[in-house]
């Protein structure tokens, strides 16, 4: 029975990693932009939520409704003013610029909020649990997983059911021909990054409510996000969820065997998947 419990906890943990990874997957899928500041942007959003919650006393689930548009605007501006200038045939400029952004964000957050670790208070929800008969699951991990599935369904709906999604896919395929259709690739990319930052805010909500965070934890979240995206197949959103679940399950099984093995087991699962399927589980056909 313990193994079923471990499996379920692992799947639910995978939801959190999928949330970390979905924004990264979105940006890579549309712009081929590897955002090394992704983890730090999650931490930035977590601090934004923390400020809103502590200053106004509002519930984190309400605060996210204010933080998400703010983060959308930050993402839109960041892409329009900085990242669009780095895109081109050479993949190095976006890597260098987002690495720099990561350093700047970490230091700015350190100046603003000190190195003390913080947590977004979520009240009774933090400890609530649900008895499912065979296993008992925490309400928070369950909410995280359901949110991850919801986010991925939502993003897929946008991608495949809306004119905006059509513009995303067309611009991703061929920005020059997309511009002949009247699409401004720079604007489409800015909206894509804005949308990615909305997902980042949702990820930050659960990160901040479930665990302590401080200005330096961004890069570690980036690693999990990277691994989930690569396991899933670059740019595939459902693949990203599968990637998150694989890392989550590997970590909980690793921890069940020996608590010291939790993080390592996730990384080993990543390497094993890469050895068997170097392009990930669900690679895009036209990559």
């Amino acid at each position: 029975m313990i193994w079923i419990d471990t499996l379920v906890q692992g799947i639910l943990l995978g939801g959190l990693y999928a949330l970390f990874a979905a924004g990264l997957s979105l940006m890579f899928g549309i712009m081929r932009l590897v955002n090394l500041a992704h983890g730090d942007l999650i931490v930035l959003a977590a601090y934004l939520l923390l400020v809103l919650v502590t200053m106004t006393g509002m519930h984190p689930f309400v605060a996210v409704l204010i933080a998400a548009p703010v983060m959308f605007a930050i993402g839109w501006g960041l892409q329009r003013v900085v990242l669009n200038r780095t895109l081109g045939k050479d993949i190095l400029p976006p890597l260098l610029v987002t690495f720099g952004l990561s350093v700047v964000l970490q230091n700015a957050l350190l100046e603003g909020f000190t190195a003390d670790s913080r947590r977004i208070p979520a009240g009774p929800l933090e400890t609530a649990s649900l008895d499912l008969g065979v296993v008992t699951v925490g309400v928070m991990p369950l909410l995280t997983f359901l949110t991850a599935v919801g986010v991925i369904i939502g993003l897929n709906q946008i991608f495949y059911r809306t004119a905006l999604g059509r513009a995303f896919r067309a611009t991703s395929d061929d920005p020059v021909t997309a511009s002949l259709m009247g699409i401004n690739p720079g604007r489409v990319f800015a909206v894509a990054t804005g949308l990615a930052m909305v997902v980042v805010t949702i990820a930050a909500l659960y990160l901040g409510m479930r665990s302590n965070f401080d200005p330096s934890i961004g890069p570690a979240r980036l690693i999990y996000a990277f691994e989930a995206v690569i396991i899933g197949g670059l740019g595939s959103l459902w693949g990203t969820l599968a990637g998150g679940v694989i890392i989550g399950v590997a970590q909980t099984f690793g921890a069940a065997i020996n608590p010291e093995w939790q993080i390592l087991a996730g990384h080993i699962a990543f390497v094993v998947v890469l050895l068997i399927r170097p392009r990930g589980l669900f690679p895009r056909a036209n990559d």
């Binding site: 004119a163 059509r166 513009a167 896919r169 067309a170 991703s172 395929d173 061929d174 020059v176 021909t177 997309a178 511009s179 002949l180 259709m181 009247g182 699409i183 401004n184 036209n286």
Partner: protein
């Protein structure tokens, strides 16, 4: 007749290589103009400059007298100048229907061209509408590319080498749609290497060689000999 589109002393270059040397062309309202010439004559560069894919001095391209030479491609398209690019350039991630829809989604103006009208023009596309655009045959892909451009109800339609790489029977089918496209009110510039097809549908012809216009005239009266000379130079 009013001039819709005009290039004045249009120059263009790729790095150190100069592709256009002061090209002057005009397109009048309701007219179909063919631009013919051998490979490397500068025909496609001319269209790239008009559409804003290549940026020029503003006053080198005029649309209804307004300088548009420095506008980016999306703004040129918003003015009603649509392009059927060389090599079709369908979006692989989009279905046939999505490829058509994206042609009209940024410029929503009332006009004769709707999804249904394009399907009536090319009925095979209705059957294939849920297939990926790039899963179609070359001729069908070309139909999608033309339909995609029409979906914006353009005032000016630019067609770059629409016969390239297609079998003669397929080329004939595609050119059979031209009279309906002209009748819908669009003025058309066709860049072609297939001189016969170009002359059949065009009102006027420009012949280009090595980045310059070497011959211009009415399609009905221009002689094969004159075209031959303009195509290959006096030495040929």
């Amino acid at each position: 007749m009013s001039i819709l589109l005009q290039t004045i002393g249009l120059t263009a270059q790729y790095g150190d290589f100069r592709a256009l040397f002061g090209v002057d062309i005009e397109l009048n309202a309701g007219e179909t103009v063919a631009i013919i010439g051998a490979n490397g004559a500068g025909k496609s560069t001319l269209l790239r400059s008009i559409t804003g894919v290549m940026v020029n001095a503003p006053e080198q391209v005029l649309h209804r007298g307004t300088p548009i030479g420095a506008l980016p491609a999306d703004q040129v398209m918003a003015r009603g100048i649509a392009m059927v690019p060389e090599g079709r350039k369908l979006f692989p991630s989009l279905t046939v229907e999505e490829n058509l829809l994206i042609g009209g989604q940024m410029r929503r103006v009332a006009g004769p061209w709707t999804l249904e009208a394009v399907y009536d023009l090319f009925p095979i596309l209705r059957e294939r509408r849920l297939n990926p655009g790039t899963a179609l045959s070359g001729g069908q892909q070309q139909m999608v590319a033309i339909g995609r451009a029409l979906m914006s109800n353009p005032e000016i339609l630019l067609c770059d080498e629409i016969s390239l790489g297609l079998a003669p029977v397929v080329i004939r089918d595609i050119y059979a749609a031209m009279p309906r496209i002209k009748a819908s009110g669009a003025s058309v510039i066709i860049v072609e290497q297939d001189i016969g097809q170009a002359l059949r549908v065009a009102d006027r012809v420009y012949c280009m060689m090595e980045g310059r216009v070497t011959l211009t005239g009415a399609a009905a009266t221009i002689s094969r000999e004159a075209i031959h000379t303009a195509y290959f130079g006096d030495a040929a």
